[in-house]
């Protein structure tokens, strides 16, 4: 059983250990906390990639399941944690410098929650895991106590997160009232072959609203730009990538594979998902175009990406689910380096305004090239990783015969080019910035950005890798399977 939860347990232990070390250890050890945090996160990531040596039970107490989806997403969250830790080491906390240990320790807890969430197979487990994520994130968003924007972000996230939890709990209650169970597979069994139960429909609607907040889907998106802008950049990265992915895992589990995908319920919710997707992708893209702050821009672009994924989920069948999984990976691999870059930009300039990019292509050719490639990958331009996944979204929509959604997706994919070309234009066309900081980017950034950029190119030229990840995620029993092979 212990090997079952090893990333979660290790993450929690590491988090607690870091907090204790920060509180109790002598000064010369405390100074090394960033190093320990980095090593811990890296170590857990590497360990999670080593295949399990013995056959594990596929389900634990009917609360958690070990299947393809969880196997694909646990490394996803752990990779995210590694990058967030690097960013947190490099983030300027100003007056709060003394609590950097906590700032580094806190992300371990939501990551543990996310790993739990990836394998949850019961709404109760989902709820516990989500709370574990949210509460740590409220703290983290407001971490920069001296900065009003950060406090504002924390409050907004708290209120909106509370609202979202409210919807979710209400939905779970209705579900229990209507179906008598909160277990995903039992739910599927009881609901299959039945007409839609009104209580279950209400429950599905409430749960969808709850998840809508998490993935920042229209009309529950309004918190995202302000929170993204105000929160410390590492936290923004965590919110934008890991937290969003968590929402999509839930959507996949209940609306893609689970009970709400059943014909009786799906007929009501597929049009809703498609409409939400159309609204989300349109609003995200159009609102991102005029943004001048990079974090705000990425917030809206994240909304647009969520829209594309919701559109893929709105189509019937496994193709849409695989597409979302591949899309999330492509999104992770492009947006984490982008956030890393922005974090360094903020380190040098103190803000994330786009004017700091003026003429950067000349001053810092390496990181600028990597940044450009990652942005183009987000724009979905070949030959980058973002292209095959966007192609898959369009193909799913065509296959499902959803012409209006297809037309909107195409138009927004074209308009979206404008979002990502604007920073590129600023970097390469504009004259040198008025204020050039004396310090340059650290050398590690050059390599990280270049590797990330060319990884994007590699995945764009060899999309089979992403496709294989998507295929693996749909496998119900990867653990047993891999033993047999």
């Amino acid at each position: 059983m212990s090997s079952w939860f090893f990333p979660e347990i290790l993450l929690t232990l590491a988090g607690v250990g870091l907090v204790l070390m920060d509180a109790l250890a002598p000064e010369n050890i405390r100074r090394r906390i960033p190093l320990f945090a980095l090593l811990a996160s890296l170590g857990i990531l590497v360990w999670s990639l080593v295949p399990a040596s013995r056959v594990l039970p596929t389900s634990w107490l009917n609360l958690f399941v070990s299947d393809g989806l969880s196997a694909v997403f646990k490394p996803f969250f752990l990779l995210c944690l590694v990058v967030v830790t690097i960013m947190a080491c490099r983030y300027r906390l100003g007056a709060d410098e003394t609590v950097r240990g906590e700032f580094l320790a806190l992300p371990f807890f939501p990551t543990a929650g996310l790993c739990l969430l990836a394998s949850a197979r019961d709404f109760l487990a989902v709820f516990v895991a989500l709370e574990m994520v949210s509460i740590s994130l409220y703290l983290l968003a407001a971490f920069h106590r001296a900065k009003p924007a950060s406090l504002e972000a924390g409050i907004k996230l708290l209120v909106m997160g509370g609202l979202s939890t409210g919807f979710l709990v209400m939905g779970i209650a209705w579900l229990y009232a209507g179906a008598g169970t909160t277990d995903f597979s039992r739910l599927l069994l009881t609901q299959a072959g039945q007409g839609a139960n009104p209580a279950v429909l209400v429950a599905a609607g409430l749960i969808l609203a709850g998840i809508g907040f998490k993935v920042a889907a229209v009309p529950f998106h309004a918190w995202a730009p302000d929170v993204y802008e105000g929160a410390p950049t590492p936290v923004t990265a965590f919110l934008a990538v890991a937290s969003k992915a968590a929402g999509f895992i839930l959507l996949i589990r209940v609306f893609g594979l689970g009970a709400f995908a059943l014909e009786s319920i799906g007929t009501y919710f597929r049009p809703i998902l498609l409409t939400t997707g159309i609204a989300t992708v349109t609003l995200g893209t159009l609102a991102a175009l005029p943004q001048r702050d990079l974090k705000r821009l990425l917030a809206y672009s994240g909304i647009a990406h969520a829209g594309f994924m919701i559109l893929a989920l709105g189509t019937e069948g496994e193709g849409g689910i695989g597409t979302v999984v591949a899309y999330l990976w492509a999104y992770l691999l492009a947006s984490l380096p982008v956030f890393l870059f922005i974090n360094e930009l903020e380190y040098l300039h103190g803000s994330t305004d786009m004017r700091h990019l003026d003429g950067l292509g000349r001053r810092e050719p390496g990181p600028s090239l990597g940044f450009t490639l990652c942005l183009l990958s987000m724009a979905g331009l070949p030959p980058l990783a973002g292209f095959p996944v966007k192609l898959a979204v369009l193909a799913n929509l065509w296959d499902a015969g959803e012409t209006p959604a297809l037309v909107v997706a195409v138009i927004m994919a074209v308009a979206g080019l404008g979002i990502y070309l604007t920073p590129i234009r600023v970097m390469y066309w504009e004259r040198e910035a008025d204020f050039i900081p004396a310090r340059r980017f650290p050398p590690f950034l050059i390599w990280v950005m270049l590797v990330a950029g060319f990884l994007g190119v590699g995945l764009g030229l060899k999309p089979q890798w992403l496709a294989r990840v998507a295929e693996k995620s749909l496998n119900p029993l990867p653990v047993v399977e891999s033993i047999r092979e």
């Binding site: 331009l381 292209f387 195409v410 030229l461 496709a467 294989r468």
Partner: protein, 489 residues
């Protein structure tokens, strides 16, 4: 020795050039050497194609079903042969006319090499996924080239061009998705050889053919500046720096036509025939509307932009002719137009660089001041009018003969287009070359092309134009088996 390795070499050599420039070797010299060096695999591959008709590089087809069936296969046959050579020659000359010591030289030559690389990759790809991807590789370098080194309203032109091209690409992508998904599960492939074969044996139903053909027409048509999706082209070319305009008008635009020859004609033949009335209407718009518009231009670069977009109408006429002769003409005109447009933009670039203007009325007396420049200007103008002996004439005449039985009215329109083009071009040449010397031309420092170092790109393009004009067989000869397969009912 395995000559099929020359295909990846064609792509690897420019890539190495890009890397070397990025690492700090001298930009123009490196780019030039790389382009010359790339002729060697070009020769090897063409030799193989001429001997055996086809050359392939890539993994053997495995029967395992992949979720994502894209395979990196490169191939070259008679049809791609001439377009690959067009790309090689235009890339070489475009880099040859590029300036040394221009601001941010490194990025400039990297962008130029990337455009050439994208075009080569698209013409060499057998797999539709890579065919599309490689074309898009050229999109961002074009955006940067126009935006950073362009003239006039460069920012607007760059955005307009990029958004239009992206929109066209997306529509085309949707068309290809539709084509792919309309196939039965077992026959799904992205290899155009396999697709053409299987669709010949089991054609798609007329309804889906119609939709796919229309999407492909709009998508590829936007990339080729077919009316009414043309408005990015004249302004974009007018604003682009000369080498970028050469590459884009000369080579990249041919991607759309090549795509129609590769995808639309063989895979949805009935759909293509169904919508040929629409193509006819739009191409008449290209010839007449853009022809009339080109009469009104006062700026030489804009004139070239309009006339380059206008001539695409004639190529489209060849594509709907349905005869081998018409298709051969279309191919010849594609190559001829690529060369003549490249020559035209190169001359325009030189003129405006030397005199500081491209307004035609400010350029009087150029013939006396710069006779060599004037000579190449005349060659470009005559080629674009369709003077016998130059490549464009060969293409046009084949198109006219080839489509006479099917579309006599359109042949009349196209012939009228030749007149319009002649009027516009001759007026321009007259205004620019003769008459009293204008202050801009008389100004000190305005010089002619000097020596082989400056002349060779122009000479190469001129020789190629003459060669194809005299022996159009060079272009359509190797492609004949492919074109014959295309025109069979």
């Amino acid at each position: 020795m395995n000559f099929s390795l020359s295909l990846p070499a064609l792509l690897a050599i420019p890539m190495v050039g890009v890397l070397l420039i990025a690492l700090g070797s001298r930009p123009k010299t490196t780019a030039l050497w790389v382009s010359v060096l790339n002729l060697i695999p070009g020769f090897l591959a063409s030799g193989m194609v001429l001997r055996s008709g086809e050359i392939l590089f890539g993994p053997e087809p495995i029967p395992v079903r992949e979720v994502f069936p894209a395979k990196f296969i490169l191939g070259m046959d008679g049809l791609s042969l001439s377009l690959v050579w067009l790309t090689l020659i235009v890339t070489l000359t475009a880099i040859g006319t590029g300036r040394e010591g221009i601001k941010r030289e490194k990025e400039y030559y990297i962008c130029l090499l990337l455009i050439g690389l994208g075009a080569l990759g698209a013409f060499l790809s057998v797999d539709l996924f890579y065919f599309f991807s490689f074309h898009e590789v050229a999109l961002i370098p074009t955006f940067l080239l126009v935006g950073m080194w362009g003239h006039g309203d460069r920012s607007g032109a760059a955005w307009r061009m990029t958004v239009y091209l992206m929109l066209g690409s997306m529509v085309l992508l949707v068309g290809m998705i539709g084509l792919f998904l309309a196939l039965p599960e077992a026959a799904r492939s992205l290899d155009w050889r396999v697709l053409s074969e299987s669709l010949k044996a089991n054609p798609l139903s007329p309804g889906i053919q119609h939709v796919v053909a229309a999407l492909l027409l709009v998508g590829f048509g936007t990339l080729v500046s077919l009316v009414p999706f043309h408005s990015w082209a004249p302004g974009g070319y007018a604003s682009a720096p000369a080498p970028a305009a050469m590459l884009h008008a000369g080579v990249l635009k041919k991607f759309g036509l090549y795509g129609l020859l590769r995808v639309a004609l063989p895979m949805v033949p009935d759909g293509w025939k169904e919508i040929s009335w629409l193509v006819g209407l739009l191409l008449a718009g290209n010839i007449l509307y853009l022809g009339l518009a080109s009469l009104q231009q006062r700026d030489f670069r804009w004139l070239l932009g309009f006339s380059s977009a206008m001539h695409m109408g004639t190529v489209f006429l060849g594509l709907i002719s349905g005869t081998v002769l018409g298709l051969a003409g279309a191919l010849t005109l594609m190559v001829g137009h690529g060369l003549s447009a490249a020559l035209g933009f190169a001359v325009a670039g030189e003129i405006s660089r030397r005199t500081g203007t491209s307004w035609m009325r400010d350029l009087g007396g150029l013939a006396r001041r710069a006779p060599q420049l004037w000579f190449y200007l005349m060659i470009a103008a005559m080629a674009s009018i369709g003077l016998p002996g130059l490549a464009n004439f060969a293409g046009e005449i084949m198109i006219f003969f080839g489509s006479w039985t099917a579309h006599p009215v359109l042949v009349g329109v196209a012939a009228w287009g030749v007149v319009l083009s002649a009027v516009a071009t001759l007026r321009a040449v007259n205004a620019m070359a003769f008459g009293p010397m204008s202050p801009a031309v008389e100004a000190e420092g305005v010089t002619d092309l000097k020596g082989m170092r400056e002349t060779w790109p122009f000479a190469v393009l001129t020789i190629a134009l003459l060669l194809i004009g005299v022996m159009p067989l060079l272009v359509y000869g190797p492609a004949r088996p492919v074109l014959e397969r295309l025109s069979q009912p």
